[in-house]
């Protein structure tokens, strides 16, 4: 068997390494099993080819110019800069944060390809070679061995394998780092524990931390804007306060309840931090949290301080120092408010970033407990702090497991225990829990919307999740039956929103989406009107 693309082809001077075609992609279940049921794929515009990297698959994740060197000297400078970055990834002082996991994954992969079929992107693409989870890892491994190890320098490709380091290799590798959602399903099945997701993460870091190259949505409009303005959504503290007032009015209008949302209340037990995208795109989510927390008598507050009202931490996807900076700000806000603990709302990556990954950038006065909202919500249901009527949620519901909250953090059961209590038609996707598939919006993809990247996300990255959703609802796929995908994560919701829109699945199949707390409030006995807006 021969394939059209091999490892060394990453450096091949050509317009585009592969071209995706609709007919090659993984087949979808009914009603999407017939031609014409989903939009065709498009070609990148010619003007994009001049400024951005379209040489991989024609799609553009890195929406900052990455121009081709005009001379050999310029190309050499690029290669040297890249190798300098790679050396720093392998250096104790510059990359203590991930040195050990990275070295293990570079050194010990047996290339057995056991991981391949665990990758939803590889499968959804119709097994395109460049999306094989080992492909980008092997490219980086070969560069490391060939250029930075004594054995590689002496024995050449006999020990490193064939690889040429040129502009094409570097540019394509930069894009390729953004064809993995860092879901780490591949690592779960690896007999040696090699982590291809981590290698993608480290490549992203190399480009960001050494060369200042990262998608705008993650860096300039992401972490930088977050630290400067207060939120990656550009929401300012004043804007935040206005939205809180709006949410209070909205709660009054929809439920009749007079709820004063606590903001900047010192000495509360909990500082609750939401993904600020909720305030702008799904204000019913923070509204539902406010209703539940107030009705359950929880001591809590929100913060209106810079960064303190936005739980996101895009640094976790591409840049360790940005991760540390945002985590420090979150904790600083909590310290000033003198709360006992920070609780993260329905945002998967914020869960992982603040509770798990950033756990080891905090010390001394910055070290305070950080937890998930899920056990608190389950506690409300379990202890019957609020009366729920499951009949109010008597429609098909399935649960999406956000990778960051579930596989990467182990918060698995509280959310499904709630659904089992309050949703009589709850059904699981397959596979689910820690073996779930990513929504396709992971690692920043949900918010990366430049040029044609959303097309790639909708066609390839979210395809497996869409298949799972259709399969979970196959017994009630008729559009007249309204169905609900519960996605307790802002970025997952964003990806699912775009997916449903792309495939017109709300119209064709009656599929809606939303968070967990909305379902809880929808089931509250003393709220008369439905809280969820699919009715």
């Amino acid at each position: 068997m021969t394939k059209e693309v091999g490892i060394k082809d990453i450096g091949k001077p050509s317009k585009q390494l592969i071209k995706l075609r609709l007919e090659d992609l993984m087949k979808l279940p009914p009603p999407y099993d017939k031609p014409g049921e989903e939009p065709e794929m498009t070609e990148p515009k010619e003007e994009w080819r001049e400024r951005y990297i379209t040489e991989l698959d024609g799609y553009i994740a890195i929406d900052v110019p990455f121009e081709k060197p005009k001379t050999k000297e310029e190309e050499q400078r690029l290669i040297q800069r890249f190798l300098e970055g790679l050396k720093k990834l392998l250096d104790k002082e510059n990359n203590w944060t991930f040195l050990q996991p990275l070295m293990l994954s570079l050194e010990f992969c047996a290339k057995c390809q056991t991981c391949n079929d665990a990758c939803p992107i590889y499968l959804a693409s119709g097994k395109k070679e460049i999306y094989r989870p080992t492909y980008r890892s092997e490219v980086l491994r070969r560069i490391w061995k060939r250029y930075l190890t004594p054995a590689g320098k002496v024995f050449g490709k006999f020990v490193s394998g064939d690889i040429e380091l040129n502009w094409y290799t570097i540019a394509r590798l930069a894009e390729l780092a953004y064809r993995c959602t860092l879901c780490r399903r591949c690592t779960q099945v690896c007999p040696i524990g090699v982590d291809n997701g981590l290698i993608a993460h480290e490549i992203r870091k190399l480009f960001s931390q050494e060369m200042g190259v990262a998608p705008k949505a993650l860096h300039e409009l992401g972490t930088v804007q977050h630290l400067k303005v207060g939120s990656s959504t550009a929401l300012t503290p004043e804007g935040f306060k206005d939205i809180i007032e709006f949410i209070e009015d909205d709660i009054k209008e929809r439920t009749g309840k007079n709820i004063k949302i606590p903001v900047d209340e010192k000495g509360a037990d909990i500082l609750l931090i939401h993904n600020a995208g909720e305030y702008l795109s799904w204000p019913e989510n923070p509204a539902a949290f406010a209703i539940l927390f107030e009705e359950a008598g929880i001591s809590w507050t929100l913060s209106s301080e810079l960064v303190g009202y936005d739980a996101v931490n895009y640094g976790v996807w591409y840049d360790d120092v940005q991760l540390a900076r945002i985590a420090m700000k979150h904790v600083e806000v909590a310290r000033k408010l003198d709360v006992n603990r920070i609780v993260v709302g329905e945002c998967g990556h914020a869960h992982k970033a603040l509770c798990v990954v950033a756990d080891r950038v905090l010390a001394d006065e910055y070290n305070i407990p950080r937890e998930s909202c899920m056990p608190i919500l389950w506690d409300i249901v379990r202890k019957k702090k609020i009366n729920f009527d499951p009949e109010k949620n008597n429609f098909p519901v399935t649960l999406h497991d956000p990778c960051n909250m579930v596989r990467l953090m182990g918060v698995v059961e509280p959310q499904r225990k709630i659904l089992r209590e309050i949703c009589p038609q709850f059904r699981e996707m397959e596979p689910h829990g820690v073996y779930n598939y990513c929504c396709g919006g992971g690692s920043g993809f949900a918010i990366m919307t430049s040029m044609n990247f959303p097309e790639w996300r909708n066609k390839v990255a979210t395809r497996m999740k869409f298949k799972q959703i259709l399969t979970a609802f196959r017994d009630c796929i008729d559009p007249s039956i309204k169905k609900y995908v519960c996605a307790p994560c802002s970025n997952c919701k964003g990806a699912i929103r775009d997916m449903l829109d792309h495939y017109q699945a709300t119209m064709k199949c009656g599929i809606y989406y939303g968070g967990l707390v909305e379902l809880m409030v929808n089931a509250m006995v003393d709220i008369e009107e439905p809280f969820i807006e699919m009715f």
Binding site: I7, F66, E67, E74, E84, G85, K88, K92, E93, N94, W96, T97, F98, L99, Q100, L104, K111, Q113, T114, D117, R132, K157, F158, V159, G161, R184, T187, Q188, V189, C190, P191, I192, G193, D195, L198, Q209, E210, M211, G212, V213, H219, L227, D319, V321, Q322, R325, M328, V357, A358, D359, R360, L362, D364, P369, P375, M409, G410, V412, E413, P414
Partner: protein, 305 residues
Amino acid sequence: MLTVLQISSYVAFAIFVLVVLWKFVKYATMPIHLRWELYPVPHEPEHEHGGSFFEHQNIWQLERKHDKLNELKEMFEEMLFIKRMFLNKRDLWIVSWPFHAGVYLILAWLALLFVRAVLVVAGIHGLVPIADVLIQIAGAVGVIAATLGCLGLLIKRVGSWELREYSAGVEIFNLLFVLVVLLTGLYAWIKFDPHFDIAKEYMLSLITLSKMPSLPEPIVVHLILLELLFIYIPFTKIAHYVGKYYTFHAVLWEDAINKPGSEVEKKVKRCLQFRTSWSAPHFAGRTWAEEAKNPKLDVIERWKP
């Protein structure tokens, strides 16, 4: 007077042990990394559904419980049966598992030879016949399983595009080298030493530092190749058992909380004093602690040719 072959056996074994130890030390002395565990984590009491202590409130006040027994079970299932490959790549497991199981049996055979020699020296002759039976079983099954497995792995590695394309020449060479050692061993066993009497005698000579009478040439060739393999292994990926220990125990299952005053916190504080030299404009060449507390954000520029 010891023979050159005997001396080289000590040297090969010593190099093997020392380099493997050095590799363990290299990974053991790396700085603490950010938490990067992956669920299910088998020592979590709620490992059945992949749960963690984060499923509870007030986690710092919780007394953490570890299901060490389940961690051992998971570890041994993976070590002895290569469970993840069995579940996810059966066509390769069919050859990989016999190879690995065969190697384990050969290592057991070597250990049994050593134990038998110690029993003989110590005069505990009653147990020697038991050792002889075990040596016969472990040696025979081990060399056959490992040889067939290794041959299968080589055929797969060369014959399958997805394995061949991702392999460097050295990875094919490694399998070839191991196969040659196994084949010479197989030949020596069948032709010259079916009951491993020479092997037992050789081990005894090594233990007692006594000279070994001359050996048949094929056995000498096999021993030389085996010694070279012992020296070679720790420098190659064949020693992936070192990596496997650390990937699981130091990364995927490592979930210690950084509580105030803890050992983790002490290590973190040391790492935060490391100085960065990243070149992107949002770095200023300060320590991690300084970089994190006082972000440099006012310059946005990127690499240009």
